[in-house]
Symmetry: none
Subunit: 189 residues, 4 copies
Amino acid sequence: MGRKAVYTETELLDATEKLLITHGYEGFHLKLLSEHVNGARSTIYQYYANKEELIAACVRRAMQRILKKIEVIDETDVMDALHATLRAYIDESKLHQILSVISKVKGEQSTNTQADIAYVKEGHDLLRQQLFRIMTRAQQEQKLRQDIPVMAILTVFFTFVDVPNTMGVSNDDWTNMLFKIWLEGVKLG
Amino acid sequence: MGRKAVYTETELLDATEKLLITHGYEGFHLKLLSEHVNGARSTIYQYYANKEELIAACVRRAMQRILKKIEVIDETDVMDALHATLRAYIDESKLHQILSVISKVKGEQSTNTQADIAYVKEGHDLLRQQLFRIMTRAQQEQKLRQDIPVMAILTVFFTFVDVPNTMGVSNDDWTNMLFKIWLEGVKLG
Amino acid sequence: MGRKAVYTETELLDATEKLLITHGYEGFHLKLLSEHVNGARSTIYQYYANKEELIAACVRRAMQRILKKIEVIDETDVMDALHATLRAYIDESKLHQILSVISKVKGEQSTNTQADIAYVKEGHDLLRQQLFRIMTRAQQEQKLRQDIPVMAILTVFFTFVDVPNTMGVSNDDWTNMLFKIWLEGVKLG
Amino acid sequence: MGRKAVYTETELLDATEKLLITHGYEGFHLKLLSEHVNGARSTIYQYYANKEELIAACVRRAMQRILKKIEVIDETDVMDALHATLRAYIDESKLHQILSVISKVKGEQSTNTQADIAYVKEGHDLLRQQLFRIMTRAQQEQKLRQDIPVMAILTVFFTFVDVPNTMGVSNDDWTNMLFKIWLEGVKLG
DNA sequence: TATGAATGAGGTTTCATTCAT
DNA sequence: TATGAATGAAACCTCATTCAT
């Protein structure tokens, strides 16, 4: 019963995510969104009580997506696990941009929003801790150099994730190349 | 001598830069700026015709600053030059954030703005080309591995610049550590 | 017998009346109403063409209710009639609040609404005239002082109706107390 | 320095008060206000941060006005004091309408608003307590009947304040008439 | 020149009402 | 018939920019 929806919630979040990436938190407007989705601006309020709630839900979904991908990585072989992790992040190359939005979301009004913010924050910590754990194990297994603090290795790793694929190669090739550079450096011999 | 002007152009640009870093292009407002500077909001228009012009001037100045620092680097020794370059960038750790603002500046209105945008774009290319040149030379001199395209090495280098100093060490130490990782990688042995 | 309708017209008007009292004309919304009744907002339009029509019907019903109560009052004894009248009004303590809403209802659109507005206006006059008549009779019968115009006595009477029962006593006791004050005043002796 | 203001704060509050009386809290809009004052809607925000703050300030001012009038009343003679009090309230015949608005004002956002709300609430209590005190004294001095609780006398008094001047006489005459009715009642002899 | 004040454009949100299932 | 969904009008509020002192 009732009229057919002009778009699904998924479509709404997809469009939101795209616009958050291209315009950033402050440049994201509901008018903009409504122009990228067929339907009136006010219709958005059928799905989310306000802009903040929508953005928070969008960021949360992105976090859920990466968590799901990271979760299934086999940690038997430490180096394979790191490689797979890098690949997962590169597949979600815009992830950091989206997640960083969460720091601007104002959650005072809605408990929904607050819950989403908390979820994303926890996800952040989880991802960081898991990588820290794996890398520590890699150091112990003599797979990573020990004269550099894990924290530094980790931070560099997180930055590699954001290296733009200026070569325009496949994600597979790009992951392999970055992983190699991360491991071996760029110096000859 | 007359009464001190409410604020000098330099103070205005300094405040603008700080706020662009903390709030981003879309989060930067003249009201905000006037609250961080001693004088009224409308006085800003004595210096710049509009917001875009102010922002463009601010980004231009940042580009000038880094160009000046890069310009004086001695290129005799290729690897020293790269190290010094990394150090220069790390000293200007927020540089990328500022420069990236330029892509959002709308320059249709003012030729001043357009000139500034062009200047920044050219500076960008200049920096990139210079590094490209140095790295190519380094490859030729057998200082950098040849199985990885210079473009990839370069892109990674540019990303290193943005690795946040999570260890909280001095810029000197941080540069050394990053440079070492960039060169040698994180793998043991 | 078929499924029970989501709500009867009576339920709708009851809820409307309650909300008009608590929120006033301007604070009354159909969304609010639909939340206080079992059924969807749009279903309201099956009963009334628009918000104004609903409100007008609600006020009209309240007027009908008080008219019915006043109508049956035995006027044989003038003072008993006045006492009974006060009691009837006090039983409908929120009446004035509801009736006053009518002045805000916009009736241009619907003849139904216009008819309801007219009905309420006429009822108003009727009530006033009837009381005026009784009081004039009471004056003639030497039951009410003659040095005060009936109009003033009447207006004061109408105000007594709205004295909030701050003592929290029964309607019976409250009526008696107010009637006594109205008649005898508050001065000692 | 700076442009000449289109209206003073007093004019703004006067217009606000008038509109609050005629349209009520929920029917009061800034667009409406801007139409009753020369100047654009957005100009209002130069004076008050938001609608609630404006309304709260308006109600506060009304409370201040009545407090000032009540304050100066000479309490030497208890009955004279009560008469003067009634007169003061009748001069501010719309007072209750304005003050009642305060219960709808949402003050969560602004401490200014909260302070104004508190001020009005306290003023309310003050007025009530002062009258209670005077009336209690009047009872003790055998000026008011003792078979009726002061609370009831007080409540009736507060209602008298709102009796509309349907006779169209001067405030002086109206006060005298109401005071007489309040004291002596409407019964003959 | 510096600035307080004014303002219109544009963004957010709510709500009566309509649509289509 | 009942309703979920859509929507435009209208309210609130912010901000870049202009005005006039």
